[in-house]
Amino acid sequence: MSHDTNAKLIYMANQIATFFKSQPQDEAAQGVATHINKYWEPRMRRQLFQHIDGGGEGLSPLVLEAASKIKRPQAA
């Protein structure tokens, strides 16, 4: 995976978190996870998890909070 794509995924995940941060608090993390589960292709989620597993630098806290609810795809 290229550095560029990784940076883009972090950016996209944070954009999603920014929207749900403004929603009622009890729905926010689930909202992020549901959104990513519904619209992100497995290799995008896999890449996101690689980044989270490596410390998750640059990811919004809400994305990290949602991580346990995001479907982890099978290894490629």
Binding site: M1, S2, D4, T5, K8, M12, Q15, I16, T18, F19, K21, S22, Q23, P24, H35, N37, K38, Y39, W40, E41, P42, R43, M44, P73, A76
Partner: protein, 959 residues
């Protein structure tokens, strides 16, 4: 087959529900109150002679042919201007009427040329018909006197004679044949709403005048064709009719340009298209058209069309023509090799929003069943995907709520980020008609679009916001409605989730959402926002129409939700005249979305993770369908750059020109091993293709398009495909080469499969469409006649959902290096990437993209009108010529994206909507400076494009 003749009732229908009975020529007739005697007679099958009347416009009463006698009333009133009354006894033919009519006709003909045999209207001339109808046998006045017919009178120059105006590329104006019936002038006013024509002079000097006695091209004329259609003589005539002659048969079909989806009669002579004439029974356009659908079909026979399949190993090689079989076998082998080598998910497809529903359905089926993944997307990704997401969240379904007729009942129209008079002209005309009747208008747009102020139309409010601040403005409007107590609580309590409303209401009521607070960054004075909010909330039926200026932002989906919130909080949902109306860019954007073109959902907007839905298709298709969402177009390109996505089948879309950040798109395409482009022309994307499959036009195939009002309209084949095959046949052959057992014999069989699998299409079939004309989905047991208005008794999702819409500024910001904001749009005469319209005479209106810049910004930079300028952003730079105008505010510049040489998308960035990845076309920070000529990128690009279009054994085509 024969020519379709539509009945002209002479005057428009009355909407009254009170019925009136009268007698005409001894026959009893019952019609709605307010109907003209002329129309009532036609209802009874009695055609009163007429020349100035047409049911497309109001009665005028000038030609004096339609006179009738009424028992007990004196004189001979004109039947077009005389309304029916109970018990009237009308005679349409008496000795007195016969004499008077013949006398009137005699006067007309005494100032009309008698070249009927060689006249272009021969066979379609109402003047000739009327001369026949009244029994005119002689003209006693002779032809030597004063006249408009002859260039010279008795050897002297005739000052009353005017030469033919041939300035418009599509029609001519021959003043010598004009009878001054004013139908063209009234059509321009009442139907089109442009007011470009008038009658100049008085008495015998009266004549039709475009603008201030200009030629048509120099006038305000927008070439919609309404005047040509209205003309009863050869005064206004299509050049194609002059060249070819009168058509002998016609077929009703649907325009393949914008999402209005106008119905046309394709008038034919053999397989030659003579002209396209808007069909009065077309429910979307009601007999009107624009310059694109009416005239710009010449691309279908343009010499640039590629008619043979082609292959090449590397994109630097010239193309090699091959047989269809060779092409299919090559693609099948390549895709299988790539999947074997890089995995099942390494290939995908793009369906076309310009192709038919049936064709789109097949492409997504090929990807899901043949490729075995969900990597399918469509160009709605880059236009209306936020509409799908936003309206899906709020209402439960991803579609506009109204039909176009609904605008006739609107009291306050709000237009956000749309320019209907250019982008959706026929709807624009219908809206303007309603505004002239007194409806109010609010325009939210950074640019002063034509509809803000044009003849007899003026917006009550224009909120010229800074690009990128839609959410802030709409939330501010909601703030005013809620805090000033203007919310429609009865509606909300009945139709929406009350606790969600309360949460949302307290959110929007926060002081930082007030217009006074948001003014600082939206640039819109607070009193304008307050005024607009009050008008929308209290002005009667409020309807919101929006376009890509809403969706193509980082917060596109949030803006759509904000629009849904406004409609719900004011109770403007579920009846005629109101609603949320996305104006779709392309003819079949709605249809391509309906047909399961998105990577996360199967036809009918059902997520791929839904087991029951997958099972429906798995049973029918005999394959397993992946339950994981596939890649969206931008994700495909990212994956290509990363080396995990290697092959793509693109039907009828030009992503290299239409998608943002051209350099990134080019890099993605260049990284793939098999790019298959299926199109009419070697488009820009084909520069990076390995296989080219020739496509067919909408005139060459059967199918259906679904327009912006969810209307499923038939597309009918009027000529044999020049390339040999309709697009659905090509996709089917490709699928067969990949081992799929597909055997559709006609698109109707594909529609049957769609109906069998997709609940909202359950009752749709070609037989049913034949019977109904068209239907709006959902069309099923519950709504057997379709659904003109949605959410009538309740929302599709149950309760309407209010969603908080927090404004978040885009990260694309101006700064010292890039101080201006660029936004993009369309112009009337061109369409999208211009592949079609650039290959027609429409280029006379718009030969190049120009950069609109405010005089203040231009002066600061030493730029004069028409100068070459360099336009640069963080993504890239290009050059084009300037157009200095105060339509744009200081700090904002604007351009169109119709020409590949301009490459406006070299400038746009890869920022996108948070929910759908819809690109942020509408906001790019740029700098503008004088320039000497094309940028290095433009030169390199031109050279690369020229090289990549070479075909072995053929001379390079000069464009």
């Amino acid at each position: 087959m024969s020519l379709i003749h539509e009945i002209d009732y002479g005057t428009p229908a009355s909407r009254s529900e009170t019925m009136v009975t009268l007698t005409i020529d001894g026959r009893e007739v019952t019609v709605p109150e307010g109907t003209s005697i002329m129309r009532a007679a036609m209802d009874a099958g009695i055609e009163v002679p007429k020349l100035c009347a047409s049911d497309m416009m109001d009665a005028f009463g000038s030609c004096r042919l339609c006179l009738v006698e009424i028992k007990g009333r004196g004189g001979m009133p004109a039947s077009c201007t005389t309304p029916v009354a109970p018990g009237l006894e009308v005679s349409t033919q008496t000795p007195r009427l016969k004499d008077v009519r013949r006398g009137v006709m005699e006067l007309y003909i005494s100032d009309h040329p008698l070249d009927c045999l060689t006249c272009a209207a021969n066979g379609d001339c109402e003047l000739q018909d009327m001369a026949g109808a009244v029994g005119l046998r002689d003209v006693r006045y002779g032809y030597e006197g004063e006249n408009h017919v002859k260039a010279r009178n008795n050897g002297d120059i005739n000052a009353k004679w005017l030469p033919k105006d041939e300035s418009n590329p599509y029609f001519t104006y021959d003043p010598a044949k004009c009878i001054v019936c004013s139908r063209c002038v009234r059509a321009c006013e009442e139907v089109q709403g442009t007011f470009a024509l008038t009658i100049g002079g008085r008495g015998f000097d009266s004549r039709v005048s475009a603008g201030m006695a200009e030629d048509f091209m120099s006038s305000e004329c927008v070439s919609c064709g309404a005047c040509v259609q209205a003309c009863p003589t050869a005064t206004l005539t299509e050049k194609s009719v002059i060249e070819i002659g009168q058509p002998e048969h016609s077929v009703v079909t649907t325009c393949a340009y914008c999402g209005v989806g106008c119905s046309f009669k394709a008038e034919m002579r053999g397989e030659e298209l003579v002209r396209m004439v808007p069909w009065k029974d077309g429910q979307a356009n009601r007999g009107h058209s624009c310059v694109k659908g009416r005239f710009a079909y010449g691309y279908s026979t343009h010499k640039d069309r590629i008619l043979n399949p082609m292959i090449r190993e590397k994109i630097s090689d010239p193309w090699r023509e091959v047989t269809w079989e060779e092409a299919y076998a090559h693609v099948a082998a390549e895709f299988r090799r790539i999947q074997y080598q890089y995995g099942r998910d390494s290939v995908g497809g793009i369906t076309s929003s310009r192709c038919t529903n049936e064709e789109t359905y097949l492409v997504q089926k090929l990807v899901r069943a043949g490729f075995g993944n969900n990597n399918v997307d469509t160009c709605a990704r880059v236009c209306h995907s936020p509409t799908g997401y936003g309206l899906g969240q709020a209402f439960g379904t991803s579609a506009g709520t109204q039909n176009f007729d609904s605008v006739e009942f609107t009291d306050v129209a709000v237009i956000i980020g749309a320019n209907p008079t250019d982008g959706h002209p026929v709807f624009g005309s219908r809206l303007k008609k309603r505004l002239r009747e007194g409806a109010k208008l609010i325009v939210i747009d950074p640019r002063r679009t034509d509809i803000v102020r044009s003849p007899h139309v003026e917006a009550s409010y224009h909120l010229p916001l800074k690009p990128g601040t839609n959410v802030a403005i709409l939330t501010s409007i909601a703030h005013v409605i809620v805090t000033e107590g203007l919310a429609n609580e009865a509606f909300i309590r009945e139709r929406c989730d009350w606790s969600e409303y309360e949460d949302w209401a307290s959110f929007v009521a926060e002081p930082y959402h007030s217009p006074e607070a948001t003014e600082a960054y939206t640039g819109v004075p607070a009193d304008l926002v307050r005024g607009a909010a009050r008008l929308f909330a209290t002005g009667g039926n409020g309807a919101i129409y929006y376009g890509l200026g809403v969706t193509e932002h980082s917060q596109g989906s949030t803006t759509v939700m904000a629009i849904a919130n406004l409609a719900m909080v004011t109770g403007n949902i579920g009846r005629p005249g109101v609603g949320v109306n996305p104006l779709r860019g392309q003819n079949n954007v709605q249809g391509s979305c309906d047909m399961g073109s998105f990577p996360h959902e199967l036809p009918g907007y059902r997520h791929v993770s839904d087991d029951a839905t997958r099972e429906t298709f798995e049973k029918l298709w005999g394959v397993e369908i992946s339950s994981e969402p596939g890649l969206r177009i931008p994700n495909m390109l990212d994956a290509a750059v990363d080396g995990t996505f290697k092959g793509i089948y693109i039907q009828g879309e030009d992503i290299l020109q239409s998608d943002p950040d051209t350099k990134h798109v080019a890099a993605g395409l260049a990284a793939m091993e098999c790019v298959v482009v299926h199109d009419l022309f070697l488009n820009e994307t084909a520069n990076y293709a390995h296989v080219f499959l020739p496509g067919s036009t909408f005139l060459e195939k059967d199918g259906t398009f679904t327009n912006a009002e969810r209307r499923i309209n038939r597309v009918r084949k009027v000529m044999t495909p020049k390339n040999g095959y309709a697009d659905w046949e090509v996709t089917q052959k490709l699928a067969q080469a990949m081992g799929m057992n597909w055997n559709y014999r006609h698109p109707s069989e594909i529609m049957d499969e769609i109906a069998a699998t997709t609940p909202s299409f359950a009752l749709v079939s070609y037989d049913y469409l034949e019977k109904m004309g068209s239907v709006q989905w959902p069309c099923n047991e519950k709504h057997p006649e379709g659904s003109p208005i949605m959410h009538v008794d309740g929302f599709v999702r149950g309760k309407g959902k209010f969603i908080r819409t927090e404004y978040v500024a885009t990260d694309e910001r101006t700064g010292p290096r890039f101080p201006l904001l660029l936004t993009t749009g369309r112009i009337l005469s061109q369409y999208n990437v211009g592949a079609q319209t650039r290959r027609t005479d429409n280029v006379v209106w718009h030969a190049e993209d120009r950069l609109e810049i405010h005089p203040h910004d231009a002066e600061q930079r030493g730029i004069r009108d028409g100068d070459w300028i360099r336009l640069a952003s963080r993504a890239g730079e290009t050059t084009l010529r300037s157009l200095i105008t105060d339509r744009v505010a200081p700090g904002v510049v604007y351009t169109t994206f119709h020409h590949p040489t301009t490459q406006a998308n070299v400038i746009t960035t890869d920022f996108s909507d948070w929910a759908t990845n819809c690109p942020e076309y509408k906001v790019t920070a740029v700098q503008v400076m004088p320039s000497n000529g094309p940028s290095d990128w433009q030169q390199d690009y031109d050279e690369q494009a020229r090289q990549s279009r070479r075909i072995a054994g053929k001379l390079e085509a000069a464009e």
